[in-house]
Symmetry: C2
Amino acid sequence: MKAFAVDLGGTHITVAVVEDRQIVASQTIGQPPAAGLRPLLPLLAATLRDLSNCSTRGITDVAGIALGFCGIVDSRAGRVQSTNGKYPDAAEIDFHSWSRENFDLPLRLENDARMALMGEHYAGAAEGFQDVAMVTLGTGIGSAVMIEGKLLQGKHGQAGSLGGHVPVVLQGRACTCGGEGCAESEASGWALPRLCQSWANFPQSELAGQEINFANLFRCAASGDPIAKAIQQHCMDVWVATGVALVHAYDPELLVFGGGVMRSAEVILPYLQAHIPGRVWTPWGKVQIRSARPGNESALLGAIPMLSTSPSDVRTNVR
Amino acid sequence: MKAFAVDLGGTHITVAVVEDRQIVASQTIGQPPAAGLRPLLPLLAATLRDLSNCSTRGITDVAGIALGFCGIVDSRAGRVQSTNGKYPDAAEIDFHSWSRENFDLPLRLENDARMALMGEHYAGAAEGFQDVAMVTLGTGIGSAVMIEGKLLQGKHGQAGSLGGHVPVVLQGRACTCGGEGCAESEASGWALPRLCQSWANFPQSELAGQEINFANLFRCAASGDPIAKAIQQHCMDVWVATGVALVHAYDPELLVFGGGVMRSAEVILPYLQAHIPGRVWTPWGKVQIRSARPGNESALLGAIPMLSTSPSDVRTNVR
């Protein structure tokens, strides 16, 4: 099967043509302007057309468009529910009509972390597992949960998606969701500059003279900067707490960590593996902790399972 | 329908005869000795026989025994999975054989908070709701989750049960589950004495001269004792964080708080209602927060739905 995949992340949009377990071609549209998503739709359509011209026999053999969105998505209703600041107009966009009008193709919409989990289950770290929780560490912190082989959705489509907003620090930093001490407000891409600026003696850190992002934080920490090391430690402890929370909440056999921050997986993954299993009550055995495919490959490959099952199969959770 | 209900809590065992929405008769066996559960089984059987002699036409019209246990229960397999210190021998007890041999009755086993949620759904605060998370504040902190009308169970039967072990305080107090900063290790009946003893200036509190329990804590706080007020505040903030965690994890329409600590519901419930809804991301509307039936009534009434549906209905969650 061949499909168009669109990953609408917080700081980038990636479009791709995927075929079975392979990403045939992909292109990333850089930092989108704050104006919203609607003005970007013509560019998105043009990029998909370019890709299909280069890499497929037109779009005649493309099964459909799978779109992962960085917000709360009701995949059963096929619409964005809430955007928490990113792409504020997304809830009003009729993606299905857009897809029909531009490509005459069916479209499936899902939360981006759920799409990534579907990709990992189809062709990644979660192949062969039926009970998995996934965390995506990026601009925000997303999550998705599969129980007995089905994605957990919940009454309003948001169960399993908000692992980044499970509070882990009592009276911690305020979050855009309304909460405080969420993993996302303590240790995500958008929260990192604020975290650093408020850290004691931060101006003495090597990182203070650089763009504040996780790549630079991990580099400064690796070079021995004590303040960067302490901030890195805080973030990793928050991710451990989130992992513990997901194990206790959903009873998975496997935790998969993905997202752009996992470019530092060589530091993060051993830490998670060392600290999560000892802090969870799992009389059945030991929870496995794995790294997702690099970059947003998992989300892009999620297009195939998204489009290859019937809506009633994909979209229903508990019944 | 008439049933025997057994609530095996951390500090008490209550046995009852229930008929539809009524508790016909009940008896509480006080603080069980630490020796384990097996030595108590003859007393349990004798108490059930006493109750049935007083209140029913023998046991001829009793449908079965429903047993709620304060630990991880695999209700599909019908066994206790793990006990975290309480009744360490429970995992080896064959409750079904015990019930057959003593009463020739079928037995259903469930986690005590799940049994309470079934009772609330059948005849309490959750009547008419299909998407509910319940928290029981007692010796420990239990939880249970219903999604689309079905109890969430998970791969190993523990999904939804461990809301008390979702960490809410980063680098918080060590918990018996292996974690740290769990709601249960920060604000449960067993944790309260340790919390108080480590609180700054606790010897100056009125509570220091009394048995340390939530009833006395809330009384001292109400009389203006500033240290008791601060400890009460900490506990209520922990319960708010747990409520936020459950809303973000499971997407319920309703949170129900029960357990012995809710004898102080007149203080606790308004606090939860004031602080949880503003801290959760619920674009669909406002989550409701309610108090459970008093005492362990909800668990006892849970016996009726536990025994009136087929094992495959009751015991299956996601499919």
